[in-house]
Amino acid sequence: MAESHVVVVGASLAGLQAAVTLRAEGFAEAVTVVGEEPHRPYDRPPLSKQVIAGDWDADRVALPAGAGASLDVTWELGTGAAGLDLAGRRVLLADGRALTFDGLVIATGAHPRPLPGVGALEGVHTLRTLEDALAVRAALDGGARRVVVVGAGFIGAEVAASCRQRGAEVTLVEPLPQPLARVLPEQVGAVLAEVHRSHGVDVRLGVGVEAIEGLGRVQGVRLADGTTVAADLVVVGIGVVPATGWLEGSGLTLDDGVVCDETTLAAPGVVAAGDVARWPNARYGEVMRVEHWEHAIDMGTHAARRLLADLAGEPGEPFAPVPWFWSDQYDRKVQLAGRPRPTDRFEVVAGSLAEARFCGLFGRDGQVVAALGMNMPGRVVRYRRELQDGLSWDDALAGAAPAVPPTS
């Protein structure tokens, strides 16, 4: 029998973890990892934080598992996948070659959503890749002093914080009435906004961007309320779009991501993981796509095992994690475990919103559905473990809340 071949498309967090897992599970046959970027896998969270802030050199972002020769895979870097021939079991590369596969892992992540109606202007950036981050850093090094960040989601908020750290004037523009109003209750978003204001950021809420002005190079951002904010650097962080362009017409179901079953299988012999994958998470009875660091690792691990089971003709197990996320802004560490909605009840169980140091719980239908912390990471992690087993609202508030032992 010919040697079997697993192709992983996407050489970043989820793809790397899938490749590592294939080897760790004893898969001894050929593995090829295809990546559009010219780099070995690297870590994105430091891009908006340490890289833009100028604290880290670019080489520090390498992901250790992919850096050395220890991972026995063939790297195809700098060439993207341009198509998938599902029936012929082939991945078509942008340079015209084709790779045949027995098993396929789709881990192409996501691309930044561009600001609608804005053409290419020098000084306007999005942030996803190392090059993006180095370009923003170079602009700051080159003397950019008036920065407008469009979008107060986690990445936009982190960029605002890093630019403040570099001494730039920063305006943070958000069309929603509070930061993260689609996931968090208003009073929590208000705390995040206040953290930025107290660090000197001009936070403009409830106002959209009408146009980015400039001839060749950006000069200002015109807002929906008619005002114009002068800018020599604009960073747009208004969300991402899953990178599924290469899968169009392949026969896979695409709907804001590659749609998988509850075990991460998208088709026989095909799995997906990370930011690109949408799947029914039985824990929440919801079809979801999660754009978090640890999720990419967990789903990459699960998908690789699922693929090996499929190749062996065995059934797979459902993937039903409690999502978990962190974000660092100035000296604040925000952590969120679970799946909140703005309509959930929210109660602070430790610390206080006023001191911007707290842990709060989200409740729905008598259950705790999420825990949010600011500078209380230990508590959030404890709740995350409890959320895994299911935690009733009454139990949680009746003091069954996990107490963190006092400092020794």
């Binding site: 870590d43 969270p45 250790p64 598992a65 660091w293 640890e294 690792i297 978990w324 962190w326 660092d328 560490k333 952590q335 430790a350 500078n375 209380m376 990471p377 230990g378 508590r379 959030v380 992690v381 404890r382 995350r384 473990r385 963190v404 032992p405 006092p406 400092t407 020794s408």
Partner: protein, 63 residues
């Protein structure tokens, strides 16, 4: 097996604690405490996973 944390790198995000709470604990003072410097072999897999997943690569395992 000996667990060593580089506290200059550690950012107290408690990823390690999520995986191996027997060994790692981030307390309300925002510092990471290693509860056992030399955990039992039975914890090796968890500790190794914590070291791999630490976003700062702040954990090393000796022996």
């Amino acid at each position: 097996m000996r667990v060593v944390v580089d506290y200059d790198l550690c950012e107290s995000n408690a990823v390690c604690m999520g995986i191996a709470p027997e060994v790692f604990e981030v307390r309300d003072d925002d510092f990471l405490y290693v509860l056992q410097d030399e955990p039992d072999e039975s914890l090796r897999e968890k500790v190794e996973q914590a070291a791999t997943r630490c976003p700062k690569q702040a954990i090393t395992i000796e022996g």
